[in-house]
């Protein structure tokens, strides 16, 4: 009899547990951002590509520019207001010595993009010009700005969707970048 009432309690508690689980699940959904998709590329090498330089289209870059040291790959365009908002911060990071490669994504015109870099400052070590967005497609880019963190082996470590600002850099991107830099530097000094 005692066993039976115990079982009864378990059965009675089930709906309550299910309700609590659902509450937690839905509550989490309230604070999650559905537009932030995890990148399918994380842990994989960057895709192969051949892209012209934005200043000099006769100069062709390949995926080799994304290998050899930890870096950020920043996807931007002049039609993207959030890119404008984060540009100042990228300039600041570049001044602090952070290595950033720029990927201009389906811009209205090359002249407009070059003008942007000349007037607002150019935080990028290399400027890739992806006129038709086909390389960005290989990266799984679905908007701008997006920022990829790439390690010295040329593998994507992390993808950030949205602007890079103080909060994002200090809590998410910065620590990971420093970690990669540390590993890179200790490796470099080893015989």
């Amino acid at each position: 009899m005692a066993q039976r009432s115990k079982l009864r309690w378990v059965i009675l508690a089930l709906p309550l547990l299910a309700f609590l689980w659902l509450t937690i699940f839905l509550l989490r959904g309230l604070f999650s951002d559905p537009t932030e998709l995890s990148s399918a590329l994380v842990g994989k090498p960057v895709p192969q590509f051949e892209l012209p330089d934005i200043y000099d289209t006769s100069k062709i870059h390949t995926e080799a520019v994304l290998q050899g040291r930890p870096m950020l790959l920043n996807v931007w365009a002049t039609w993207c207001p959030t890119c404008r908002a984060e540009h100042e911060y990228l300039n600041k990071l570049a001044a602090e010595g952070v290595y950033i490669v720029g990927l201009n994504y389906k811009d209205d015109s090359r002249a407009k993009a070059v003008n942007w870099l000349n007037t607002l400052g150019d935080p990028y070590q290399v400027n890739l010009f992806d006129e038709r967005g086909m390389v960005a497609l290989d990266f799984g880019v679905y908007g701008a700005p997006e920022t990829f963190l790439i390690n010295a082996d040329g593998e994507v470590v992390y993808r950030h969707v949205g602007d890079v600002n103080d909060r994002v850099w200090n809590t998410v991107l910065g620590p990971q970048y420093q970690q990669l830099m540390q590993a890179y530097q200790t490796e470099g000094t080893a015989p």
Binding site: L37, A40, G133, F139
Partner: protein, 171 residues
């Protein structure tokens, strides 16, 4: 009357929904095919691939520039003779499982596939248990309880008779 109302409601809903899909449908006439089989495959694909930018639209449904890029890529691949699986794999490799409206069965998606079955099973089990409990309750009456029940029933009848007769008197 109610039946009529429901029919009306259904008709209205159907019209509303079909007009919605017309509004959102993208102009696909720019994609020319010589091979009707390829065209069918193209239409099937753009109806099952999900636009990463617009969350709940297929790439065939969406006006987003990215959806157009993905349609162009799909068109190109289909024209070059790619199979359905090749195109799907290509998209999933870039945008993750999110890009395909039929998620694969994996540990992280198993709840999608087994959840509804589980709900039905649990519901059936609950109903079964309740029915059994009710049946058992009838069977499990002891002789003594049966006698009590009989007594109660007869007293009920008496009471009913009494109230009945009282009512008679009052009227």
């Amino acid at each position: 009357m109610i039946k009529n109302f429901i029919t009306m409601l259904m008709v209205t809903l159907t019209i509303a929904l079909s007009s919605l899909s017309v509004v959102y449908a993208v102009n696909l006439e720019t994609y020319k095919f010589d091979d009707p089989q390829k065209e069918a495959l193209f239409r099937e694909l753009i109806d099952e691939l999900r636009c990463p930018k617009c969350q709940n639209q297929t790439i065939g449904d969406s006006d987003a520039p990215l959806a157009k890029d993905l349609r162009d890529r799909t068109y190109l691949m289909v024209q070059q003779g790619a199979s359905k699986q090749e195109v799907v794999d290509y998209m999933v490799a870039r945008y993750g499982d999110f890009a395909y409206y039929r998620p694969p069965v994996k540990l992280s998606t198993v709840v999608l596939w087994l959840g509804p079955v589980l709900v039905i099973l649990v519901g059936a089990a609950v109903i079964l248990m309740r029915v059994r409990a009710r049946n058992n309750a009838e069977v499990e009456l002891s002789d003594e309880e049966q006698a009590q029940l009989a007594a109660l029933r007869s007293s009920d009848l008496d009471n009913a008779d009494q109230s009945h007769s009282e009512q008679d008197k009052s009227s």
